[in-house]
Every structure is written in C-alpha cells, then in structure tokens.
Symmetry: C4
Subunit: 492 residues, 4 copies
C-alpha cells in the first residue's frame, strides 16, 4: 500500500506518477506517447487524475495500454473532506462562465417543461461543461453539412389523407429481422461519459425499456460488456465497428460482439480520418483531451502519438475486405456512412444486408450530401432494381415528422444520435426516456393526421419532395451555436 | 339560499364546492374527470370560479355534464366592493409582465391608427392575456406550416391590366348559393371568450352588419343559439362540425343547426387528434386551462380524462360516413381540411358540395401543404374534369391581395380566422367592423389597380405562379412571435 | 391693406381666414371641401399658413380653386424678428426626434463623401422632415413590390467581354427622337417642394446642365410653366399626364404642354386610384397633408372631398381613348405604367410610340411584377414581332449596373425617381448634379469593364438572366426603413 | 550633407521639400502631378515622409519618376529618441479607434489558435490599420460579386466515395509544366507593404518553403527583383502583367521577367479601368493614398494626374495584340480575368496556354459571374472541343473544399489572394506558412474523406452542381464587413 505523500513526489516529466481510481501508475515512459498529449498528464503529475481520466477512457484502458511493470499498486489516499458539489482546485478558481453554468444547473427547467428534442439541446448548451458540449455538437469545417442535414427535412412536405379511420396507430416495424416498437434507433456516438458519469449505459437502459434499438459504439467510454450487461434479456442492440488494421484484433472484437448477442454489425466507412471539428478544437483545454480520439494526420507526423487510439483504424479498408467480414460473422452486415448512389448500388450488388446513408452527423466531410437528399435520389433507383438490402439514415433528425419523411421515402429506420446525448447529459435516464416518449407521442399524432395507421402505410405517395427552398425552424436556429473565431474577443 | 361562508368550508378534494354565476355546485365526484385537470378546480375549491370558468366553457356546460344532484342552488354572495379594473388575488400580486400588459392596454393605439390586419395582431400581442394569446396564435411543432401558409401568397404575383374602366367595382359573389357582399368569410375558431367576454357573438354582429358570412364553431365558448340569436334576420351563417362518435348526438346537433337556418355544414376532417401546439402548452397555467379542448392521447392513457370534451370526436370518421350526413340534412355539405389532390377529387366524385383546402391554420400536421400551393395544383385538374363542387381555402390570409390571388386561382371564397379574433380581442365590435372594412377598402383598390371590376373578372390569366422565392413582409415578420424554449432563461 | 390683428379674429370654422404669401383669404366656405381635410386649415385659422401651404400646393392653387370673392387682399404683417433657422411655434416645442433631425442636418456629411445613390437616401432619411420622407419613400401595402423592383436587378448577371478597345466610351443615345447624353431620365414624381423649397425646378436645372431628360409631373408642386422656364433653350423635357375626366381641361393641358416644347406625352395608366401607402398614412399629421393628392375612395364616400385634386383623374380611361390623344397632339405618346405582356403588345399594335414598364415605384398595386422581370419576358416577344415602339422602365434603379442591364435587355432608357428627390432634398442643385455625375462615372466604368463602348453594343448576349436567387445589397438593406406598427410602442 | 533644419524651411506648396530614407527631394514642381494627390505631400512638406511613402511606393519610384535635378542629397537627420512602438505626431493624438486597434494587436491570439483562413481575416480586421484593411478587402459597388464569388462554392456538394484505400494521399500536380506540391497558388495582389513592411517578399519566402507558386504582381510595393531575389533556387514564380501603352516599356518588363526565370506570363484583361471600391474610397485619408493606383477617369479629367501610375495601362488592349506577346517571350501566356464563355473559347482557339476565370476578386465589374459558376458552364464545352489550354480560377476561396471543387470541375489550379495578405499582415512569415499548412491539412483530410488519393482522381463524377440555394457559412458571414454610409453617423 503506497502512501499518497510518496506519490506526490513523482511530479516531473521524467518521474511522473498518477493515481487513477486509487491505484498509482508510473507513466514517465508513456507520457510522450499519450494520444491526448503530454500536457494533460503533466498537469496531474503526482496527483489523483481520476476525475479527468474517467470521461474519456474506457475503464480497461490502462490494463490494455500500460505495461504491468508500471502498475505501482494501491495508494492510501488521504481522508477526503465530505465531497463538495464542485471539487475546484483551490489554485484555479472557476471562471465566470463556469459559475454561470453552475447557476444554470441549479435552475434547470423541470423535465415536464421539455416538449421536444430541441429543448434538451437548449438545456444541454447552458448546463453541460464546455468541453463535453463542444465535443458533442461540433461539426466539421463551417458546419454547413451539419445544418444542411437538418434543413433538408424542411424541403419535404406531406400529402396527408383525411377521412381514414385512425383510431389505432401501430408504430411497430422490423429492422434487420428484429421487431421493434418504434421506427428509429439510438445511433452510435463516442465518449458518452463526457455527458454523464454512466455514459452509454444510460442509453442502454432507456432503449431497453421502450423497445428501441441501441447501436453500441466502438469508442464508447464504457466497456462494451458494461453496456451489454445493462440491457434487458430480450433487448436488441447493434454494434458499430471501426475496423482495426490488425485483423486479428478486429476479428476478436466482432466475434465477441456476436457472442454477446449483437443483432447487427455496422461497419463505419466514412471515417478513415477524423474530420476537422473546430468548435471541439477550440474548446478550452482542447490539447488536453480532444486527442483521445486521435488525429492520424498529427499521428503521422509525430512518432510520439503513433499509438493514438484512432490510429488503429484501417485507412486501407476496401470493398474487397467485406467478404472477410462475411466469413467471420453471421450478424447482418451494414455499411454506415454511405454517401453516394454508386456506393449504395455496389453494396446492394455485393449482398450487404443494409446501408446507413450518413455523413457522420456532419462531422467528417464538409459538403457531403444531406442523407435525406441522397435517400430521395437513391430509393427510386433501388426499387427499380428490386431492393434487397435495408436502407437506414441518420443526421439532423429532431422531430417525428423527420422520421416519418424518411420512412415514406423508403428508409427502414432512422438513427438519432446527439439528441439522446443531450437528453442523457441533462436529465440522465429520465431524460432519455422522455426523449423517446416525446418522439413516440409526436409520431402517433402525425400518423393520425397523415391518415396512416401502420408503418407500411407510409410510402412515397404521402410525400412531396419538389420544393427546393428551405423553411428554417426557429428553435433549431436558436439552439444552434454559431462558429466563432478567437479574434472575436479583440472587439471587446 | 346558501350562505357563501358555508361554501367556503368545502375546499378539499374530497369535499369540493365551487360557485359559478352565483350558484354552488358540488364537484367532488367530478373533479378527477375534469377534462381540464383537477388542479384548476382545486385552486377554486370553496371559491367563486366564474372568472376562470367563463372563457373556456359554453354556458350550458354544467347543465349538460354535471348531474342534477350536484347542483346545490343559489348562493348569497358577500357584497362586493365596487369592481376594480383588475381583480387580483391579494396573495398573488400580478407579475411584471402582467403589469406591462395592463400599461399596454391603457396605451392602446386609437383604432384610427390601425391600417391593416397585422396591426390588430400587434396590438393583440401586447395587450391580450398570455394564455389567450398563446392559444390563438399557436401553430403545431415548429410552426413552419403556420408561416408557410402565409408566405405561400408571396410567391404569387399579379398581371394587372391597365386602361380598363374601373369606376365601379362590385365585390359581391355567391357562396353555397348565398349572395354575399365580400368574397371572404369569418371561419370557425374555438374559445372566443378567451379574447372577448362576448366571444363569438361579437363576430356574428359585425359579420351581419357588412354582409359577411360567419362560420359558427362547434367549440364556441358561446352557446350555438346565443350566436345565432345575435344575427340579423337575413344574415347567412354556416356551421362547423366536429363529428361526434355518438351519431345520435351528432344528428341532433346537425338537425338543430339546420333548423336554426345554417346555410352550410362544414365537417372538419383534419383533426382526429389535436396537433401539438407548444406555445399554447408552454403558456402559463397551461395545465389549468388548455385541456379544455382535450388531448385524446392523454385521454387514452388516463381514465380520468375519458370524458374530455374533444374525446367525443370520432377518430374513425371515414368517407363512407358522408352518405349518412347527406341523409340527415339538406344543408350543403363541405369538407373542411382537405390537404391532398386525391381527396379533393374523391370529394368531387362523391358529389360533396364543397371543400375547404386547409391545414387548420397550421395547428395540426406540420408540413401539411400550404393551402394556396394546393389550390394552384388542384384547380387545373378540377377544371379539366368539369368542376362541380366549390373550393374554399383558409390559412395565412392577411391582405386583400391574398384573397384576390385565391379567387384568381379559382377559389369561391376565402376563410379568415385569427385576424378577426385579434380585432375582436383588442377593439371588440368596432375592431371586427374595421377589420372587414380594411379588407374591403384594400380589395376595391386592388381590383381597380388590377383592371377588374367584378369577381368574375378574376381568373388565372391575372396571376403569375411561376416564382418560387418568397419575399418576406416586414410587418408579419415582426408580429410573428418566435418559439422559445424554457432553457432560454438560463442565459440570463 | 388689411391689418393682421383683424385677420387673427377670424379663427373659427364658420369664420375662417388664413394668410398665404401676405394675402388674406376667407376659406370658411371652402373648409369642408379641402381635399387635405379641414383639420389643417383650422389649425391655421387666423394665422399665416404659408409655411405649410407651400410644399403641397402649386402657387396657382388659390387662383384656380378659390372664388375671387374670397380673396381679401394684402395684409400688413407684423415686423418679423430676424428669421430663426427653425421657426417653432412657442406652444409646440419641437420633439426629441425633430431636435435629432436638426442636429443631423448640422452634421450632414460633405457632398464629397457621397459615393453612390444610396448615400443620398441615407442622408435624406436622417435629415428630411418626417412627412416628406414618408411621402417619398412609401410603397403600397407591405412594400414587397417596392423592394422586389430593386432586388430584381440582382438576379441578372453580366457576361463581360475582355480585350476590347474601350478607350473611348460614348453614352449618348436617342429617346423618342431626342439625342441625350445619358441613357436614363428623371422620371415624374409629385410634390417636389416637400423636399426642397424650389421643388421640381431644381431637377430641371441639373437635368439641363448634363443633357438628361426630365419628365415633368402633373402633380408638381411648382407650376408647369415655372419648371419649363427653368430649362435651357435646347433642353428636352417630357410631360407626365394624369388624364382629367373633363376632356376639355385635359386637352388644354396637353396643348399647352406641346406649345411649351414638351417632346413626349407620358399618360399614366397605373393609377386610377391611389395605392395604400401606409408609411405615408402613418407619418405624423398625415390627416393634415397627405390628402393633397386625394384618395378617391374616401372622396366617393364624403361629398366634402368631391373636389379632391386627384378626383379629377378619369377612372374610366380606356384603350379607345388613346385615339383621341393622337388627334389632339403631335407629341410622341407613351403609356406609363404598363404591367403585363398583353397590354404591351396591344399598345404596340395600336401604334403607341412607347411604353414605360412600371408599377409606379411600388406605390400602387402590391405584387405587380418588377419591371425588369417583365422586360425580360416581353422583349423577346416584341422582337419577334418586329419591335416598333420604344420600351422604357422605371422602379428600383440605384446603380449604373441596373441601367445597363435594362439596356442590354432592350430598354431604350430607364427612369429614375426617388434617388433624385433624395439628392435634391439633401444637397439641392449640387446634390442632383452629383447624383447624375455618380451614375455617369459608374456607367463609363461599367461599360469599359463589360467591353462595350457605345449603347448599341449592349444587347442580350451581354446578360445572364437565368439566376433566380436574389443577392441582397447591404446599403439598400440598411437604408430601407422597415414598416412599423403603432403597437410597437407598447413594448417600451 | 543637408541640415534637417534647412529642409524644414521648405514647407509650402511652392517650395516643398520632403525627406525619404534620409535623402531630401524638392517636389515643388511635382506636387500637382502626384497621382496620390497633393494633400498628402503638403502634409509632409519640410518633414520626413518615409513612413507614409514606403507602404505605397516601390523603392525605385523616385528614381524613375523624379528628375535628377530635384534630388537634393542626403540629410543629416536629428538624433532620434529610441523608437517608440507607435510614432504618433504630438499634434495628432491617435483616435479612439486607433487605440483600440493597438490594444487588439497587444492581445492578438496565438498563431496556434488559428484554425482556418477566416481566422486570419478576423485578426486582420481588428489589427490592421484601417487604410490597409480597406484597400485589401474592398470589392466594387455593393460587393455582391465579392460575396457571390465565395458563396458560389456553397452550391456545390461532393459525392464522396467510401471503402477506398486512402492511406497515402498525394497532392502534387502540374501547372504550366511545373510540378507543384499543392494545387493552388498565391495570386497577384497589389501593395503588399500596406500589410507588412516586407510586402511581397514575405509571400515569396513562404511559397518557396512549401512548393507553392507565387504570382508576382506588376503593382507590388517591393521591386520585382527584390521579390525574385527572395525566392529559392528552384522556386517557381509567375508574373502578372498590366500591359503598358508604351509597348517598348512593356517589352522590357516582359523580357526582364523571363530572364529572371518567371514560368508564366499572366496578362490581366479585366482591368482597363479600376473598379469603384467604396470601402477603400471611404477609408480615412483616402485622398492621400488611394490614388497611388490611380483612377484613369479622374486622370482623364485632371491634367495633373496624367502620369498616374495606372494611367500607363493600355485601355486599347485587344485580342490582336496577343500575337505580339507570343513574339517577344517564350513564357506560357495566360489571360487573367476571363469572364465569359465566348472569350474562353476564343483564347483556346488562339492557342493561348491558359486562362484564369476571375473577376479580380470582385473588385472590378459588379455582377460579373462568380468564377466557379463560369467554370461549371465552361468545362463541358471545352472538353467537348478537346481541351488544349489550362483553366485556372480565383476569387472567394477560403477552404480546401473550395479548391477541390474547382479541381473536380476541371480547373488545373486555384489562385488565392486576400487570405494570404491577411495571414502576412497579422503573423508575417509564420502566418503565411501556417495558412498554406492549414490548406494542406484540410486538403489531405478532404481527399481521404472523398475517397481520392491523387489530384487526377478528382473529376466531375465526384461533384453535384445541381443545387441552387446557397448555405451561408457563419465565419465568413461574421468576418465580412458590411458596407456603410457616412450618414450612419447621423443616427448617433
């Protein structure tokens, strides 16, 4: 049992110990190769780093990445004074901004005052810590794609039927062979603990309770097994995969996922390199944290970051690799991030089980087409060829009308990401439950008003896609946080 | 004769009396089934509830809904000190917002300063009580449909003729066989007493004086007969019907309407369920009042609200039911809320006398097509088939040019709703009279400047519908109150 | 010689004298028939009314409209204290707004700081008196047409030629047979004295100096002869005619105009009734002044205003009347205010010499097509039929590029109105001269950069009209004063 | 050796000496012919004018333009007190605005906080001196073309390919026969010293270090040879030529450029006259400095400015002159400023080596087509005819996506101007280096995400140009400084 006073002495770059969850580690050798940069480690040299370690690392990180020889064992930590709500460093008093945020948290609206998904986003914007908020909301470059994903839905109008018996509305449908209660799913998003201490487990629980599918991300902050363990016996989950260069590792992950009951393997194909997300990059202490997901460009240049977490992703992944995946798993195979008609057709020809039209929520390539626009163009072609695979879509969804439009156009289901993160980050389990509930209520109402009583009633005859002008929605327009430049401050 | 002191003792949920118009009622048994929720009743337990009862209940509500055994008889009310302008509860001093509103009322512009319908809306926005204002103006979801209804008129331009003798302009036309002075009508809107103590009777009087048709709503706050009684001998009125599940009740209503001289039966077909109107939902004390119209979703879930006023609406109403209506009345039959070409054609084929292209003023299904857009597409098809039924339209009309565009495109007449509510809520009878006058003056001027002297001069050769870009009008843009989220307050 | 003290006694409605230019008039009998209303006369009963009379009445008004028996002769006015800059009524101290305006005038930018026509408008907005400003700038209804007139130019792009010898640029062209220095003219606008004490004479002088045609309005505040007298010997002027119901009067006016050398008769065909110009109507003291031009609707209703100046306009003017004009004058005949292809073709067929595509500067019918859009559509048709008449256009022109676009599209010339009024109202003669100079400089530069050296080089091959989206210009966007409602003040 | 006290005596218009770089000159005879006006010279009569002379004159100006007889020789200048950071004239204390600017400079963001080219522009806006900033950013007229150049890129979307091996990305390409590292070049812009004391030399150095081509402008503030001397041995530079009326001078310049190793001759064809740049014209002390580039309109009118620097430009330059250029140089010949399909085709037919689709950065003819739009239309025609010449484009480029779109559409390379000026003016060499680096990083990322690994992979199949609506980018929208009128100040 180490003494904490001993630990505190090892507080230099060359002799650097840190405490995580009551255990000390010697990270002196590792410090230069830390994908998140050395600065953040040095800041906690000789200190307890648990608070900053947790949100951005899965619990098994040190086991996996740090040699056993650097595990120094348990530390006898000093008696803590009863935990204060905010555990500020006495040398670093909280900023005015942070104080305002705490005040905001104290004055959060009651969950009963939340009427739609934008409301969650509002509350999140003013109560989440800045780094987490910036990480979740950030899009690439000028965020044109981010906004277009959403606005594309506003170019589509309904052709509602009247005088239909709409007493009973049934929202159930099938996705990849699974019966689900609602025609949307919680899509994979990274670093859930940035928003909530229990991270992706929160999403798993609420999804389970309402019969909604959750797609578990490779880059979860919880362990994959922790998330699966959180699910109900008959709860359907899918697995999102970043393909590892090391195919052996990759195979292990896939086989493990299948063993744990995953009902779909979603291979991300739109992220051989991370997009430039400037809000995220600008957020305070960016250097300290944001490299957790790595940046393989940087990685290529600095040997020290060669082991960056994301650098495992195979930039050479090709169509021909897909056969191999077929050979190692029986899970339905879905390509997540298809952005072009040709590629969709090729996937169909190759017998892939499904595709997700997605541009990664506007976080990767600026001016990638909004998924809804792509869907409008793709489906008639696919139908003419005799649709075999299932088509999904994610990006920009905020209302039940958005979901219904995609379904009318031929999508099997719709992925929703950020809104659930915001619901989780603000109101936890209850927030996510309510978010699903809000969508469900909106959906029943809209189905009735469209003259549709079951998902199969929704088809292209219910929809008008001829309009080209966008009508902006005021709530989204207000919650959207515009990009800023550091020079802004010069004006003050 | 009961003593008021006695009444005051019955102020608990289990023993709950209230006074309405000087009569006491025991509502203990009813409290859980009150469509507007129990909270509002409890607030007035043992008190005089007339002030809050009146605006949202037709006068015969208690007669109809409360068993005779709970009618306790007249109450000797204490001498009132002379009525103060605002009868504030001493325990609940008026908010800053409310004080500002009262100041606004004291400084209302003279009616002579009102030049157009938007002006009424402005004055209403700053002088009406918040709940009433929110109820009237609210649209569904993000209010995109609400705004599009209006903006659609801005895509249409005229092709004015010059060198035509326009000395005499005649605005008379025929609707459903009735000669009218002006080619628009006051359409049905619920809860008129929220804006004016005399509610729909105000509209009836002004309509009568200027030869304009009023459509009487099922959900009026005045009794149907009160409104009819207010009309002039030869005044034309129509009746808007929410179809009751109980066809016997329904038949009685229809037959009564016909007996009282209604010249048209407008069956609402766009509201099997109420739309989500978030402004209304957010307005203070929403829980207390807004359920008056019910929310059958909620209703389905909570047995207590099973008798919610709106729950009588038949969600199973179908095309085949229309024959039955034919069999019980000789009034012309019109479908209000048609939103799709197919349905319009079907109505025509079935020999329905008319349809109203309408999306319920943007209050029901978001992304329902703007009625004017639908009209542009529908009329050429109808004309080719030999138009039999009459086509009306409502939603977004604010100027005579809007009305004239619809007429050029083939509409028989145009319904106007909210603007008359705002005129009524601000300036009462004089306001509504002036609103009609303003439209009349604008219309005469526009007809002259278009080179048209009678309604039949207006046809599609006078109109250009090729433009797709919207030009926003500044007054509407300013009077439109944007949606807000509760989290807004967090920023302060 | 009357004593002013005597005049002062006649200060009631029944016994009402006023002094104009040192002469007393008994207006008791006339007061109810004053087209501008009785209020303004009563305000000056027994007083010197010259100051308010002048800007809105041609000098011969009393001679023409008031019987000789009411001319009371000269008045011995009291010695005036040396004239103060602002002659405020001691009982009515100037408003805060007016004081600001005076400060603005004291701080007016130097004319050298004026770089374009928008600059004049800016200065005018902040230095002109409110009534004059409102009268000049006001458009009809929501001013959509006013703004569209201007914005329509922004949908047209050039196809500039390079490597052309552009050393010498010649801007001369011919309009209705007259050689002119510049391809635009100062179009007719009413009430010039509202902006400058010398009114239309200022425009006449500057036009003459630079070889630009001025179109003299029927409703000038100067006498027609005063304006003509101001012109140079060989200066070309045109005459704009509101056609009088009394054809004898009309004939006298036309014959007089021809005798005084007018080179074109522009018959206004877009104003059988004045449009609703709400800014003008709302401007302070509207009742007092704005009816000077009358409002024949009102006129029809109130016998008292039967002699309203504008009521002389013939609302029955028709195509068949044009022959008569041909018979009484040899001046080229032009229809001002054509707004529709059919009418343009009919004018051409009838052998009319020219038309002005115009919607009266957006002051008459809202949603009349922007003249430039009409030109784009009309010219190919006219050319195919073998263009005989000349086509002009006015409305929304602010830059030389606007003029050049119209010329490329086939217009013979372009009318510019408000900008010259603003230049005149702010900097007088020098302002108007500079305004013409600015346009000339811009035009030479643009011609060079387009690779054109003479007006006949400009044709449709230089222009691209396929674009539909408007690009807003920031200066116009800022100088444009948005419509406001009286209820705005309620918010304060 | 002259005494400075002697110089100080010659401080009148008729007897006017100035000191430049320690040498005295008698400019009395020259003062009226100074292209920049006499005011600025008089301000420095009898004084040291080096500070204001330097940024706007190449060092050899006096040698070239002032007769030897007026060179008075070296001056013994008084001992200077140690240079202060800002050398204010004691009689003219710095304005509030200027003090703010200095504060801004003191608080400039660290270069590490700069993430994109807009960031440089922001910093420049708040730290550059007003005259320099206005000169660089100004566009012509209402700056619609300036903004459209940029916004045009937002109408184009990508069609990204997935599942392509993008491990290695190669950005190298060939322009006019030279292999370059990156597919863009630093285009020619005038008066570099306004932004940085070393002017165009800064650009030369950074371009050289990263294998980017620099186009050297005729109107550089550095001497042509100074710039060339700054380049690395194998660095490629091009030369931009304003064609001199005096063909002998012109020939000397061209031959000198070729001798110094220029690899392309870019003849500017879009500037026979300078455009009206109102921001520049309005910027303080405009009269003093901005005429440096002359204004040949003015020049034509005032004999005094006959020798204005720009008056040398041949307004008669024609297609037939191009043969002559072929005859005097072997450098590839490129036309800079082509704005029309016809002219592009003509250039191709004449065997010109290349064209730059450009409207001079929106500084010349307002409503010249955005280069990207022109490219979209031109390339299919050129390809059908068998493309011979190379097509370049400049104007509005701010992101790597902009560059890649142009390349997909068939451009050989893209010119970038202002962003490098802003980078240079704020952070000097490091700024320009970083600006190139930012573009390079963005470009590698985008290529990967598009599924392209080399420039030749980019073709029209990767691009969607059907969209017509513009999506605005927030950073550009914020950094863009709107036009203002002097009357703005009246409101205060």
């Amino acid at each position: 049992m180490l003494d904490f006073e001993e630990v505190q002495k090892h507080n230099t770059k060359d002799d650097c110990w840190v405490v995580i969850h009551g255990k000390a580690y010697d990270v002196s050798k590792f410090i230069d190769e830390h994908p998140g940069g050395s600065a953040i480690i040095l800041k906690y040299a000789g200190k307890d780093a648990t608070k900053v370690f947790d949100p951005v690392h899965p619990p098994d990180t040190l086991e996996k990445y740090l040699g056993k020889e650097f595990h120094l064992g348990e530390v006898k930590m000093p008696e803590k004074t009863p935990k204060k709500e905010y555990d500020d460093d006495p040398d670093e008093p909280p900023s005015q901004e942070e104080l305002q945020r705490r005040l905001n948290i104290a004055n959060m609206p009651d969950l009963a005052q939340i009427y739609n998904l934008n409301d969650f986003e509002f509350v999140a914007r003013y109560t989440m810590n800045k780094i987490a908020w910036a990480y979740y909301l950030s899009g690439c470059d000028d965020e044109i794609t981010l906004r277009e994903n959403h606005l594309a839905f506003h170019r589509v109008f309904f052709k509602p039927k009247v005088l239909v018996d709409v007493t009973n509305v049934d929202l159930r449908t099938k996705m990849l062979g699974t019966e689900v209660e609602l025609p949307f799913y919680i899509t994979a998003t990274a670093l859930g603990k940035l928003g909530h201490p229990e991270g992706e487990r929160v999403l798993a629980r609420s999804a389970g309770k309402q019969g909604v599918i959750q797609m578990i991300p490779t880059l979860a902050s919880c362990l994959f097994d922790e998330i699966v363990d959180e699910s109900l016996p008959d709860q359907t989950q899918w697995f999102q995969l970043y393909v590892n260069k090391d195919r052996k590792v990759c195979r292990e992950i896939v086989e493990h996922a299948e063993r744990r009951g995953m009902k779909g393997l979603f291979i991300t194909v739109d992220a051989p390199q991370l997009g430039r997300r400037e809000k995220d990059m600008r957020s305070k202490n960016f250097e300290d944290l944001s490299h957790v997901q790595g940046d393989d460009e940087e990685a290529d240049r600095s040997q020290g970051a060669a082991r960056a977490i994301l650098s495992f992703i195979d930039t050479a992944l090709q169509w021909s690799d897909l056969e191999w995946f077929r050979s190692i798993t029986k899970m339905p195979l879905v390509l997540k991030g298809v952005q072009r008609i040709d590629d969709a057709l090729k996937a169909d020809e190759m017998g892939i089980d499904g595709i997700v039209l997605s541009n990664h929520g506007g976080r990767q390539l600026e001016f990638s087409p909004p998924p809804l626009e792509l869907l409008i163009e793709l489906m008639p072609i696919l139908k003419k060829r005799g649709l075999k695979m299932e088509v999904y879509l994610d990006g920009g969804v905020r209302r039940a009308t958005d979901v219904l439009k995609a379904l009318c156009l031929g999508a099997k289901g719709v992925g929703i990401g950020r809104p659930f993160l915001y619901a989780m980050s603000t109101y936890g389990d209850e927030g996510v439950y309510k978010a699903i509930q809000v969508l469900r209520d909106e959906m029943i109402m809209c189905m009735r008003l469209m003259g549709a009583t079951k998902i199969s009633d929704l088809d292209e005859s219910m929809i008008d896609v001829r309009r080209r002008e966008v009508v902006e929605d005021k709530l989204f327009g207000k919650v959207y946080e515009e990009l800023e430049s550091p020079a802004f401050k010069l004006k003050l």
